[in-house]
């Protein structure tokens, strides 16, 4: 099994709740395809508002969603780049409460870990801290080229030594030590009789598009 197949296979069981599927994982060739798939999903789940992360590589996806989405009554917000790079988000982040009002957050991934189907985000922006956390659905569009085998490889890629020399592919890393969020499936709990319940506090559904060229 190659790493991409492994990622897909590992992701499947993570998306199963006691009450059915909590997301899906797809492969596609281009950003355009992913954009159209997301439109179909939004229609199926009657979504009204989406927010797209401030990553340049998502520009194409955002463009399709904005153009085509209006035809189905879908409003697309584009996340802002943080006002100050690096250190804490400014006061406007208090408005991040608004993120809960979005039906879904569309973001990317800075690394993908095959062995555990984990999505890694480096955060200097709202993406890791609000977009992937507060809306009930988290959508990830990421190039397969970011796939690594193990969590060890992901850490080595995201937290270089010496600090400060980031992979040029990582946007929004900011200054100082990076803040990283690894996401492995939707939010879950088993605190009641060890029975699996999705979600707990975070997103209930996770949809992933692995794109050949983004």
């Amino acid at each position: 099994m190659n790493p991409v197949e492994r990622f897909v296979a590992e992701m499947q069981p993570l998306l199963q709740g006691g009450d059915g599927a909590h997301g899906a994982i797809h492969r596609c060739a281009t950003a355009e395809e992913a954009g159209r798939d997301i439109l179909a999903l939004a229609e199926e789940l009657s979504m009204k508002r989406l927010v797209v992360a401030a990553r340049r590589e998502l520009d194409a996806v955002a463009a399709i969603l904005t153009e085509e989405g209006s035809k189905q009554g879908l409003r697309i917000d584009r996340d802002r780049m943080p006002a100050t790079k690096g250190t804490g988000l400014d006061d406007t982040f208090r408005d991040a409460a608004d993120y809960a009002a979005f039906d879904a957050g569309v973001g990317g991934a800075d690394v993908l870990v095959a062995e555990s189907a984990t999505i890694g985000l480096v955060a200097g922006a709202h993406e890791a801290r609000a977009l992937s956390l507060l809306p009930p659905v988290h959508i990830v569009v990421a190039p397969v080229s970011r796939m690594v085998e193990r969590i060890h490889d992901a850490l080595a890629r995201l937290i270089p030594s010496p600090p400060g020399e980031h992979d040029p592919g990582i946007e929004n890393a900011g200054e100082g030590s990076p803040t990283i969020t690894f996401i492995t499936g939707p939010s879950r709990t088993a605190d009641i009789e060890k029975i699996l319940v999705l979600p707990a506090h975070g997103p209930s559904h996770l949809y992933v598009w692995l794109v050949d060229r983004l």
Binding site: S116, H152, A156, S177, R188, I192
Partner: protein
């Protein structure tokens, strides 16, 4: 001092017919999941060894690494505070909150905050504190204490929880776990968004980078550490690790050991980007002193995965509350004497059968039974054993080192045990023992006589004394001391890793 109070706790726990069921169900599942997850990873044992090495190295260089962490965390704009004990930790947290005018606090689950009784103090001092982990939330509104270090509400079933929600939150009774979780999510979502401060613990602190590592499944920790404008992590000093590289092995074993997951749903590695104000309160509370002990320092390498609780036959029967400590199970029995500072804590090392199931599963290879034995030794040395017990052991050692006397007494003993009504079921005078177990009636000839009779060779040394458990334990201690010393001088992870 005697063990009477602990015994009484355990007697009560064992007398409760409903107590063990939820524990047995949960721990059996957890054991199976852990075993499957460990078996699934081809190099699990290698990762486990690396995780154990990383933790030992961290404890060996504790002070240097803590200082390194402080520098890095400060460089990224945070503030590090040091608390010598529980009281200082609590007042530091209160001071930070007061200075920022923070009144409402959302809390992520942290065993350390249980250890220092942070919630009680904050609430008594007028703060509004909301636990946000579902299990911890249930336990908090019920006015109870956590019963497991990773599953706080393990002792409650869905009917209990449904009733608690109905009574305390005024919602309609339901015992559907999905509905119960939804109720908690709605309620807490508002609190996350309105809270003035978030308080969490930490799974690891990375010394080089100043990052705080937090693991979870629910996303409540992500909320607590990023939404409010102020984040305070209250962390035991021993949580520090040297390097980001150490996280690979540690993350590979911790979730597998705790829940059988490859990784929990969320692994947060908090760096410079975060809330405007970030504080870490490093709590000693006896840890640095423990780090000085050549052997017991190993206790500090614990990563609080809970696997030893799930493996422990004693924990499973008496439940988490019988330990009367923030930490239960085998690791709780080890930590008790060091952090509780009560007589009761000193007795906890006796809450074990020393069967070794805990150390078999421990992801950082802590030799829990041996350490429990050392704690028992200390208990006895510091006058813990009463006169009767000391006399009994004195007699035992006299008899065991005198083969003739031993044989004579053994013959007398056999005669007594063969007597009518001594062992026979129903009428046994040893009922306390024979009710739960089978005790065979001893043979009328000793093993040594039978051996001689069959022409086997004999020596003058008493075979029983030759390899007693005590002697083997002594050897094990020496071996462990050597391996600890060897692991400190380990080549390869060499100089460049030294802080």
């Amino acid at each position: 001092m005697s063990l009477s109070r602990l015994r009484e706790q355990f007697r009560q726990a064992l007398a409760d017919p409903d107590l063990a069921a939820p524990y047995e169900r949960a721990t059996a599942t957890a054991r199976a999941k852990r075993a499957a997850a460990a078996a699934e990873l081809p190099d699990y044992e290698e990762q486990r060894q690396k995780a154990a090495d990383a933790r030992r190295e961290a404890i060996d260089h504790l002070d240097a690494l803590v200082e390194r962490f402080r520098e890095a965390f400060t460089r990224d704009g945070g503030t590090v505070h040091h608390a010598a004990d529980a009281e200082e930790a609590r007042s530091l947290v209160k001071r930070i909150l007061s200075e920022r005018g923070a009144r409402t606090v959302v809390k992520a689950k942290s065993m350390l905050s249980e250890e220092i009784a942070l919630n009680e103090d904050l609430i008594a001092s007028g703060w509004e504190v909301h636990e946000t982990d579902l299990g911890e939330f249930i336990v908090q509104i019920a006015g109870q204490r956590p019963s497991h270090i990773t599953a706080p509400a393990l002792h409650l079933d869905r009917v209990d929880i449904g009733r608690i929600f109905h009574e305390k939150l005024g919602v309609d009774y339901t015992e559907d776990p999905v509905e119960l979780a939804t109720i908690a999510r709605r309620l807490l979502r508002e609190r996350f968004l309105q809270a003035d401060a978030g308080i969490s613990g930490a799974n690891f602190l990375v010394a080089r980078t100043g990052q705080i590592v937090l693991l979870e499944n629910e996303a409540n920790i992500r909320m607590c550490t990023t939404l409010p404008p102020l984040h305070i992590a209250v962390v035991g000093v021993e949580k520090v690790i040297a390097e980001v590289d150490d996280l690979g092995p540690l993350l590979s074993v911790i979730a597998r050991s705790a829940t059988g997951q490859k990784l929990g749903a969320y692994t947060s590695i908090l760096g410079a980007a975060g809330p405007p104000e970030r504080h870490v309160v490093l709590v000693d509370n006896g840890r640095r002193q423990l780090a000085q002990h050549p052997r017991k320092r190993e206790i500090l390498t614990c990563i609080r995965c809970g696997a030893c609780l799930n493996a422990c036959p004693v924990y499973e029967r008496i439940g988490g509350h019988a330990y009367e400590s923030a930490y239960s199970g085998p690791i709780g029995a080890l930590l008790g004497p060091h952090h509780l500072g009560t007589d009761h804590g000193r007795e906890l090392p006796f809450a074990s059968s020393l069967c070794g199931a805990c150390s078999e599963v421990c992801p950082v290879k802590i030799d829990i039974p041996e350490l429990l034995r050392l704690e028992r030794e200390r208990y006895v040395e510091t006058g813990g054993a009463d006169v009767g017990e000391r006399l009994a052991w004195w007699l035992w050692s006299k008899v065991m080192t005198r083969p003739r006397l031993y044989r004579l007494l053994a013959r007398v003993g056999r005669g007594i045990l063969q007597g009518p009504g001594i062992i026979a079921e129903g009428s046994s005078v040893l009922r306390d023992w024979t009710d739960g177990r089978k005790l065979p009636i001893p043979s009328s000839t000793s093993f040594i006589d039978q051996w001689k009779h069959q022409g086997g060779a004999t020596t003058r040394t008493n075979p029983i004394w030759d390899r007693t458990r005590a002697q083997r334990a002594l050897e094990a201690t020496r071996k462990a001391k050597r391996s600890w010393a060897a692991s400190r001088g380990r080549a390869g992870r060499g100089k460049d890793r030294k802080p």
